[in-house]
């Protein structure tokens, strides 16, 4: 369609912002669609204390010609080179709800990652949240000063979250990583060669002095009636209770690959397979950031730039970036190893522990199922509104099940969005409303 975008970018985290800004600088007509109210993704979530790089890129995005649709969620790809999105905002009345039709020449997927959650007794109690989850809520205005928080799970995110919560006045009563000291030492050794990351690591460590990091330690139960009151932690043979107001618990990250999967992009070992220039197995569709391998914001920025240059036909300008990326690829592997899960965590759930939170399916009902499909058909596990995004990564670890291919809509959508006449890209851009409102909120 001649009035569509030359390049459409899905996801406005570091990778998506870098991709959109870079493609727009090349003189192309660029669209950026994201389901959050403001750009930055999860890692650069709005609020104070954004790193300098984030502020620089967000400012570049503000100055760019990129057409931004914040608060819009892509739910379908009804035909090649066309995505459909629905607005998130309830402020819109039902009359003004529109389904956006976003047509494009090339597509860059920067859909980011989510936390992996593992079920343990009591994990559905109010105030048991993801590590990034609690962090996001605090950045979204939840007061945390004076509250006691346990931060647990695995991955570098834990220290970042603990440090941030502490800065906001939370009392961090414990920080536990399931990884061994050796696993973390190997990661730390790698960070020595990455000055920027070392600086971040040191900052986290300094902020963390009051509560020391416990390794090979994890929550085995959360207690409370109406909400969380205490957590039982285990480290080796030792087990003890800690009173707390919040448990922030996430076991590293899993990539958001639903949209790439829907589009037919080849998936390898749970990640989107790409060429050296970040083109997926589908010609004209590129992928950048966490869906190609969990590597953090720095690598995501680099991949976003690379993907945009490649999609703009400027591969020759991306050679330096490609070299740098090859140098960073080792970090992805080191990080994955540092976050690999202890098989003992499979014993956390007991028969009456919820696994699927949408449909309230318990571990005991799933134990005897043959695979993910069998579990879906017999127990409704993964059949709720999150479409298995939470329990899917848990059951993959618990039982070795892999998700079956996704079907549209990849997010629950209104019937009116599924059936209504489309609002073509050009009308949406002319109206200017979706991106405008989001810009004002920053």
């Amino acid at each position: 369609m001649k009035d569509g975008f030359d390049i459409l970018v899905v996801g406005a985290g570091p990778a998506g912002i870098a991709a959109a800004v870079t493609a727009a600088a090349a003189g192309l007509r660029v669209g950026l669609v994201d389901d959050n109210p403001a750009p930055g993704g999860q890692i650069w979530r709005s609020g104070a204390h954004l790193p300098a790089a984030a502020q620089r890129w967000l400012a570049r995005l503000d100055r760019s010609s990129v057409v931004r649709l914040h608060g819009w969620r892509v739910f379908d790809c009804p035909q090649p080179n066309l995505l459909c999105a629905e607005p998130n905002s309830a402020a819109m009345t039902s009359e003004s709800r529109v389904r956006a039709e976003l047509s494009f020449g090339k597509l860059i997927l920067a859909t980011g990652a989510r936390e992996r959650f593992l079920p343990f007794p009591g994990w559905t109690l109010p105030n048991v949240m993801g590590a990034g989850g609690l962090d996001a809520l605090v950045r979204g205005g939840l007061p945390i000063a004076g509250k006691r928080a346990v931060v647990a799970g695995t991955g570098p995110l834990l220290l970042a979250v603990a440090a941030h919560l502490a800065r906001r006045g939370a009392r961090i009563v414990a920080v536990c990583d399931q990884a061994s000291r050796l696993q973390l030492a190997r990661l730390a050794a790698h960070l020595v060669f990455e000055p920027a990351k070392l600086w971040q690591g040191a900052n986290y460590a300094l902020a963390m002095l009051p509560a020391r990091l416990r390794t090979r330690c994890w929550p085995v139960a959360a207690h409370g009636s109406d909400r969380l009151r205490a957590v039982t932690l285990r480290q080796g043979a030792k087990q003890w209770d800690v009173d707390c107001d919040y448990l922030a618990c996430g076991f590293h990250l899993v990539p958001n690959i639903e949209l790439p999967t829907l589009l037919g992009c080849r998936i390898e070992d749970g990640f989107v397979a790409t060429s050296e220039w970040l083109e997926t197995s589908v010609p004209g569709i590129y992928c950048a950031g966490e869906p190609t391998g969990i590597g953090g914001a720095e690598l995501a920025l680099l991949e976003g730039e690379m993907a945009a240059l490649a999609a703009s036909g400027l591969t020759h300008q991306a050679r330096g970036l490609a070299r740098k990326r090859r140098g960073m690829s080792e970090f992805v592997a080191v990080l994955a190893k540092a976050c690999s899960l202890d098989p003992k965590l499979r014993a956390l759930a007991s028969d009456d522990t919820m696994v699927c939170r949408c449909e309230d399916v318990r571990y005991g009902a799933l134990r005897s199922r043959a695979n993910w499909r069998d579990a879906k058909l017999h127990t409704r596990c993964g059949m709720g509104p999150c479409q298995g995004r939470i329990c899917g990564s848990a059951t993959e670890f618990l039982f070795g099940w892999r998700d079956t291919p996704v079907r549209p809509p990849i997010f629950p959508a209104l019937l009116s969005s599924l059936a209504s006449p489309d609002t073509p890209t050009e009308d949406l851009v002319a109206a200017g409303a979706p991106s405008h409102s989001a810009k004002e909120s920053r």
């Binding site: 559905t124 989850g133 205005g141 919820m354 709720g384 509104p385 629950p412």
Partner: protein
């Protein structure tokens, strides 16, 4: 900074909650001490992921059901109803009819 000290008011299950601009509806619901939803087997739930993935934060906003409150910012005068309050209202309706 005047931006961060200015507050806006919305209601959660009828009770007024004052928040700073930029606050998500999910945070306002937690500040009001309300569970966002009641699970299919009756458990109270609050947001888990904070990023629009888990659907535990669904509430009604200005009459529109199933809104993911963690991705929506508070607006002045917004009326938020959680499933816990809604199911109570339904039960009350049944008793009176």
């Amino acid at each position: 900074m005047p931006e961060s000290t200015r507050s806006l008011a919305l209601t959660v299950n009828g009770a007024t909650v004052a928040v700073t601009p930029g606050t998500t509806v999910a945070a306002a619901v937690l500040m009001a001490g309300a569970a966002a939803r009641i699970s299919v087997s009756g458990e109270p739930r609050v947001p888990l992921c904070g990023m629009g993935i888990c659907f535990e934060c669904r509430v009604s906003i200005n009459g529109a059901p199933h809104q993911r409150s963690c991705q929506i910012l508070c607006q002045p005068g917004m009326q938020v109803l959680t499933a816990a309050a809604e199911s109570c209202a339904l039960a009350a309706n049944r008793r009176t009819s």
